[in-house]
């Protein structure tokens, strides 16, 4: 496998370092050739930067991409926003030679060159396509049989598809496949592809952000799932932190929120502490407790064969 640089992004490092921990533990545990790189800046974020200066948004993204281009490594990020921003800017620049020329004449002033040769991945399609389901299954010690998950993709994992091209933008499958590879059930629910709504928190509309979070959490409370599975720090902020804020006001949904790598790490045998699960605001204990209970029960197949042995035999 080609070496890749991890693009952590601002949100994970500033607010959720325990998510970085969880990703690192899994990348190391699977012996994947990742490295950290000096020199990255904000991707940059769309709703704040692109809404004020589109040119600077493009240029900053192009500079970040030029760093991996130079090292001839791919880029993998555990943040959907970072990948979507970088890929969208890359697509826009590559489709317009004049723009590319202008960007490169600016970058030249600081000794950089945008080529757009490195591949940009989000962690979910990366695990699905590059690492592969088989290898993931082989790394598991204890799977999630009997556990029900609500996958929340996060819009920017696969949209805009003209630039990301990594899954069906309206009917994505890869995250569900990963959950199944871990032995869990990925339940269908009607608001599955609905945006988390965290963007509203970034434009001073906190109450509306909560209102959006509620729509999905209410459905999941009624559906009855053991956890929500996601892989984006903004969505995490929305469903973990904001759910916790609502809990404090007496509104309880009881939907633990787990990062893809939390689940992979647990299945690989790492402890919740090693994966930084104690950093989550919504209690993950009920999820862990049920998992322990289920997996200490003998499987139906094992119980059946046991029964066959015990009951009297004709021979």
């Amino acid at each position: 496998m080609k070496e890749f640089a991890v693009f952590w992004g601002c949100t994970i490092q500033a607010r959720f370092p325990f998510l970085e921990k969880s990703v690192r533990v899994v990348l190391k545990g699977m012996n994947l050739p990742f490295r950290d790189m000096d020199g990255f800046t904000c991707c940059p974020e769309k709703s704040l930067v692109n809404n004020i200066d589109h040119g600077l948004w493009l240029l900053t993204a192009a500079r970040n991409i030029s760093l991996v281009d130079k090292e001839a490594v791919d880029l993998v990020s555990p943040c959907t926003g970072c990948v979507s921003n970088l890929a969208t800017a890359k697509g826009e620049i590559l489709s317009n030679p004049r723009k590319e020329g202008e960007i490169n004449s600016l970058l030249k002033e600081v000794g950089r060159e945008f080529k757009g040769t490195s591949r940009l991945y989000h962690l979910v399609p990366f695990f699905h396509d590059e690492v592969g389901i088989q290898k993931i299954k082989q790394s598991i010690k204890r799977d999630f049989s009997g556990m029900r998950f609500a996958v929340h993709y996060g819009c920017h994992m696969m949209r805009p598809s003209h630039s990301l091209k990594n899954d069906d933008p309206l009917e994505p499958k890869k995250f569900d496949n990963l959950i199944r590879a871990l032995g869990g059930e990925s339940v269908e629910y009607s608001t599955k592809l609905m945006c988390c709504g965290q963007g509203l928190d970034r434009v001073d509309q906190h109450d509306r952000a909560l209102q959006m979070a509620r729509v999905k959490l209410r459905e999941l409370k009624n559906t009855g799932v053991d956890a929500m599975a996601l892989c984006c720090p903004s969505c995490f902020l929305q469903f973990d932190n904001n759910q916790h804020l609502m809990e404090k006001e007496g509104e309880r949904f009881n939907v633990p929120v787990l990062y893809l790598t939390d689940l992979m790490g647990l299945a690989m045998g790492y402890t919740p502490q090693a994966l930084g699960l104690d950093g989550h605001r919504v209690d993950t204990e009920p999820f862990l407790k049920k998992w322990k209970e289920i997996s200490s029960r003998p499987s139906a197949a094992a119980a059946f064969s046991e029964g066959m042995k015990k009951e009297g035999s004709f021979i």
Partner: protein, 154 residues
């Protein structure tokens, strides 16, 4: 070259279509959010009245409308253009302003939390590209607008 332009032909068709109302999370969940009302005013030359409206910031940029659009357009384009136009006039939610200020000063939207990293046993964070970014920003501003005020004084 780096500006976003609106295609009025596409907008005209969008104005007559409306298929996106059924999938747009903001149309479905926020009272009064209606991209087509904005589009109508853009087409009639009355865009200005939306510059101070919260609605132009209620587009979540989820790109759902872009993906289902029969003309590969998406009514989010109108909302993005309106936000940029508002920004040109210095109108934006305070939080957007704060985020922008932090970005142009530090190249990031938050610094790694060192104490928490230590507790978790994470390695030292890598150097950011701040210095180089600030230099690039100055070059970019010079090209777009000429010397910045502090350079002009010199």
């Amino acid at each position: 070259m780096f500006d976003i332009h609106l295609d009025f032909d596409l907008l005209e068709k969008c104005n007559r279509c409306g298929a996106c109302y059924d999938i747009c999370p903001s149309c479905l969940n926020i009272d009064g959010y209606d991209p087509r009302a904005v589009i109508k005013d853009i087409l009639n030359g009355n865009a200005g009245r939306w510059l101070t409206s919260v609605h132009i910031y209620q587009c979540l940029e989820c790109h759902h409308c872009l993906e289902i659009c029969y003309q590969n357009y998406g009514f989010e384009n109108a909302m993005t253009a309106m936000r940029l136009r508002a920004a040109r006039q210095g109108i934006h939610p305070p939080q957007v302003r704060r985020g922008w200020d932090m970005f142009v000063k530090t190249s990031r939207l938050g610094e790694p939390s060192l104490a928490a990293r230590k507790k978790l046993g994470l390695p030292e964070p890598r150097e950011s590209g701040k210095e180089e970014f600030l230099k690039l920003l100055e070059v970019y501003r010079m090209r777009r607008h000429g010397p910045s005020p502090c350079l002009r004084e010199r």
